[in-house]
Amino acid sequence: MNDVLIIGSGLGGLECGALLAQKGLRVLVLEGSHQPGGCMQSFRRGGLHYDTGLHYVGGLAPGQAMHKAFDRLGLLDLPWERMDEYFDHVIIGGRHFTFHQGYEAFAEGLAKDFPHQREALQSYVRRLQNITEADMDVCAYDYLCQTFSDELLVNVVSAAAMKTELRRETLPLFNFAHTCSSYIESSWRLKGDGNLLVNKLIGTIREAGGEVRTDSRVVRLTETDGRITSVTCADGQSYEAEHFISDIHPAVLCQLLEGCPSVRKAFRRRMAAAENTCGMFTAQLCIKPDVLRYFAHNVFIYDKPNVWTMTEENTPVKGVMVSARVPEDGSDTLRQIDLLTPMPWHECQAWTETKVGRRGDNYKALCQQKTEQCIALAEQYIPGLRDMVEHCYTSTPLTYRDYLGSPEGGAFGMRKDCRTAMLSFHSVSTPLPNLLLTGQSIILPGIEGVTMTAFETCSKIVSGLGIRA
C-alpha cells in the first residue's frame, strides 16, 4: 500500500511528493490529464518549448526566501540564470522606472525618480521584510496609499505585481508583499522550460520508489471509519493509501467528497462558495531569428496609472507584462516573448460551453484583437515588435480551465480577502484527519506561495518540514 497518495501533479503536488519521498515514504501521484505539471507544464511548437505559468522566480541566492526550500527539493541544480540588476522595468504613461535587486538599492533607485518619497520607500522595503500573518487582515492598497503620498508611486511599486490579482478592496498586504519581496532579493529565470522543474521533482519521487501516473482522473474518495481509505479513478481503478493530499482546486475536491459522512455540508459549501481570482490572457510570440537581442529583465507597461483597476475592466488592454525567454542555444538574440495581461472571466462568457480548438471565429477574433493591443503596448519598449513576430500562440482563462481544471480559469486560485481573512485563507487540514490540502488556493499563489504551502502540508505528515524549513 502507498504511504501517501497525491491527487494532482501541479507544482504543489509534485513538491509534496518529492519532500515525502525524500523522507522514505512511498508516494503515488495521480494526474487527471495527459501531461503532469499543472501550471509548470510546457508545450512544444515548431521546435520551441513554450511555458504556461513559469516566467521568473525570486529569492534563490543563499540566505534568501526560496534558497533553502529549493535546495531541499533538489531544484537549485537546475540551470537558473540571474536576471539583470534592474530586473523589472515599469513604464506608466510613457515614463520609465526600474526596480533594482536588493532592498536598499530598490528603494534608492526609485528615490531618484521620487526624491520626496525617499523615507516612505525605505519604510516600504522595511515593511516588506517584516511581513507576518497579521498582514492577512491588512488591505494592501490602503497600506500603499497611507505609505506613499504620491499616487504615481503607488502604481509604480505595484506595477510588477501582475503576478497576483490586484484588487483594491480585497488583496491582503500579506499576499502583495510575498508577490514582490523575494524578487527584490534576487530574480532568476530558468534556461529551459518548466518541464525541467517538473521532471526533476518526478525523478525524485521515482528514485525513492514512488510513481506518477497520468490519465488517472480521480472521481471519488471513499471514507471508512472517519478516514479516507481509497480513491477511485474514472477508469474504475482504485488506490489505497495511509495519507491523502489534494492538489486540485478545493471546490472540485469537495465534489469528489460527496457521500463522505465526516465532511459536512457547511465545509463543502464554504469551499464551493469561495470566489476565484481573475484569469490571464497570454500571447506567446515566436520571434524571427536574429532580429531582437535577449533582455534579462521583465517590462510592465501601462497606458495610465491604472494598475489597481485594470483587473476589473481590461478592454481594451490597459497593461501588459513582457517576459523574454532565455535563449537555449547560447545566442544573444531571443526567439520567444510572452505578453500577459489580466482577463476577467466575464470576457469569456460567450464560450463557456466550448472546448479547446472548437470555440469558433469570434473567439479567434477576440484573441487576435487582444494580441494586437498587447503588442501595441509592448512596442513602447520594443519598437517594431509586430514585424518581428513569426508565429503567435494565445491562451485565455478558458484554456486554463480546460487544461488545468481551474474553475473560471482563475490564474491564482481562490481569492484572498483582507476583510474576511479568517474565511479566505485556508488551513491545509480538512475534516478528515488523513486528507490534506496543498496548492495555490490554500494560502498563497505563485511559485513561492505554493512551495511554502507544500512544506506546511508535508509538516502534518512528517515532523521537521515546517513552513520556515
Binding site: K265, A266, R270, M422, L423
Partner: protein, 80 residues
C-alpha cells in the same frame, strides 16, 4: 429582521449545514458541543453567519459566544 426571525432562520440553517437535529438547538445549549465544532468547522460557522447576515464575528469576540443565545445576540446587534 426581528430576533424571532433570526432564531428561526439560523437554527434551520445550522441544522442543515452541520447535519444535526434542529431540536437539539436551544438558546442555552453549548454551541461548540451541539454543532460538534473544532477549529476547522468553527470557520464554517463564521462563514455561514457572514454569508447569511453580512456579520463577521471577530477573532477577539469569538470566545464570548458560547451558547446559541449569545450567537443570536451577536447577530442581532451587528446585522446591517
Amino acid at each position: 429582521m426581528t430576533r424571532e426571525e433570526i432564531i428561526a432562520e439560523i437554527n434551520a440553517e445550522l441544522a442543515e449545514e452541520f447535519e444535526i437535529d434542529e431540536a437539539t438547538i436551544t438558546p442555552d445549549a453549548p454551541i461548540y458541543q451541539t454543532l460538534e465544532l473544532d477549529s476547522l468547522s468553527l470557520v464554517d460557522l463564521i462563514g455561514i453567519v457572514q454569508t447569511k447576515y453580512g456579520v463577521l464575528i471577530s477573532k477577539a469576540e469569538l470566545p464570548t459566544i458560547k451558547t446559541f443565545a449569545q450567537l443570536y445576540d451577536y447577530i442581532e446587534q451587528h446585522q446591517k
